[in-house]
Symmetry: C2
Subunit: 355 residues, 2 copies
């Protein structure tokens, strides 16, 4: 039997507080009987909530923390106020000191990334971390990164993302040879994105171990599932992710309005309600909740701040799977097996400078 998976939980993060977080952890616990939890936050509150979940109480220990990182705190503020003593910092720190294998937080993304970078630091051979999202597509699921860790990316960063995204696809999508596309615009430009072109040239001509390069893809290819891993810098990745969320909401709202506009439509809706519930499940943003921080010496998962217990459970599942299927080891192997890494400008100094 393999060792238990130990997950550190920032019980104070998110819009809805520890009730929602712990309800989510309980859902995930039932799915993973070999998981153990360390819950960081206000001990009296957590103890009171755990009264409702005896199963979770038995699989968890509580570490009391006084400071809560606010959802609107700037990263610098969060570090100043929350370093060493906030629930967020301590959850990350548990991974650092090997008391946990992964940390999950629904707290604010900028603060979480800043703390994770400062405390865990980037992996050897990785210039800077990225946030990866799981994106439901017509063909299943794809991984899209970076969805907001940093703005702008050099060719080298894009290639590192291709490596990390491929490792993640092998880890959780169970695809042996995931295909990778670089997000680009179809429009022929006089001035193109030099970094994207250069990354494409390296991936195509020189090749990178464990990366199966497909070529450039466009925004509509993401939902179509053209490739398993879509690589882009964080500004456009974040905008793509949120635009898709907005479009899905918009169409769901059109659908609701259409189905309520006549008696015939309402009866039709009732008859087809099983079909609609399948559709609702497909479109459920909670299913793919959880951004994975890639490129750090540890697994950190960011849950959507506004999600409910079911959504938070999905983020915990994601952390569990990353550990169980050895995400970090896989990334490390791909990086190490990359002979030309140094030649493309991975400077240790640069990597340090990010932290």
């Amino acid at each position: 039997m393999s060792a238990p998976v130990r997950i550190a939980i920032d019980a104070m993060g998110g819009d809805h507080g520890p009730d929602t977080i712990l309800a989510g952890v309980e859902i995930a616990r039932v799915r993973h009987p070999d998981a153990q939890f360390v819950l960081f936050g206000d001990e009296p509150r957590i103890t009171a909530i755990l009264g409702r979940y005896p199963g979770l109480a038995a699989a968890a220990r509580i570490v009391h923390t006084e400071v809560v990182v606010g959802m609107d705190d700037k990263p610098s503020q969060a570090l100043r106020r929350g370093r060493y003593r906030s629930s967020m910092w301590r959850a990350i720190d548990a991974v650092k000191v090997h008391e946990a294998d992964a940390a999950v937080s629904a707290g604010n993304t900028g603060a979480l990334m800043a703390m994770a970078k400062v405390n865990l630091r980037t992996m050897p051979g990785i210039g800077r971390p990225a946030i990866a999202a799981i994106w439901p597509t017509l063909r299943g699921e794809s991984i899209v990164l970076d969805v907001g860790a940093s703005i702008g990316a050099t060719a080298q960063s894009l290639i590192e993302m291709a490596i990390m995204g491929s490792a993640m696809a092998r880890t959780i999508l169970d695809i042996e040879h995931p295909t990778v596309g670089l997000l680009n615009v179809g429009v022929e430009e006089i001035k193109g994105v030099e970094e994207v072109k250069e990354a494409g040239r390296i991936l195509r001509e020189e090749g990178v171990p464990d990366v199966h390069y497909h070529g450039f893809v466009e925004g509509n290819d993401i939902g179509a599932g053209t490739v398993d891993v879509v690589v882009t810098e964080g500004f456009s990745g974040n905008i793509a992710l949120k635009t898709a969320e907005g479009t899905a909401k918009q169409l769901a709202s059109y659908l609701r309005a259409a189905m309520g506009r006549s008696w015939r439509a309402r009866i039709g809706y009732l008859l087809a309600r099983d079909a609609f519930s399948v559709l609702r499940e497909k479109m459920d943003p909670r299913r793919s909740n959880g951004g994975v921080f890639l490129g750090l010496n540890g697994v950190v998962i960011k849950s959507h701040g506004g999600t409910d217990a079911e959504g938070f459970a999905a983020a915990v599942d994601l952390g569990y799977d990353m550990v169980r299927h050895h995400l970090l080891q896989r990334i490390e192997n791909s990086i190490v097996s990359r002979p030309a890494a140094a030649a493309h400008g991975v400077e240790p100094a640069e990597a340090e400078g990010q932290s």
Copy 2:
């Protein structure tokens, strides 16, 4: 009575050729009895097709051209082969020499933009042109720019886009005081997008005539209709647009699959079919077909290359409306009434360098 609106049509552009283009022009002609058309392309083919549309034949004249710009030609190739003699160049040139008020093409975007820039040049006070799209939202329609004219944008370019987008909203959305948002990522960054921040600062603190600045918006705000005009640089704008298209296709496909999966669902679908047809119409990408080239000394509309006659007609409508409601004049007025324009670095030389 006002003067007729004269529209130059690149009859050879697009994936489906002159049959589709001219069928689209005919649809638009019926809607605009005061429109006149100049059709550029292969005269014998056009003449044969016009045999089917006597009404259009009466409202149009044909100008024979030999060269067709290919859908995959690079802008430089297109200019080399097609300058002075392609249907695309000639349609734009008709606007330049005041034989037409607007040009509409379903040809390739890069070539069309390159030719339009070279031939029409940018307006005084505008550094470089942008492509604006009309985006259906939960609150109606918004304008999003730039969706692919150029990659990257200075604070100055973003402000020019805010001015041009506002003028376009007043022209075709009939909103007196359109609100403007700058597309950004919600994540607090150590390194942000300096250009976007600086543009936001200028719009907020100094103010720009005719621009009602709302603040930063995120990807999901586009579909929500939070603002009337969304401003961003062309890479992220193009990715947002295509990602939304892809998401809409994906959800339509889920919906079709769901409605076909059981007899109850199929009967429900039949009962609700009026509702579904309303929904289909709302989601119809042809309704908002047509990218508007802003910032040039003339109106140029880019139709989606793969659209059908109905979609091309929407692009022609757009050109018609731009002329009828004086888009260029409105942009010019806003630019002229901007006292501090020069202070923010509009260099005539830089503007020239773009063409």
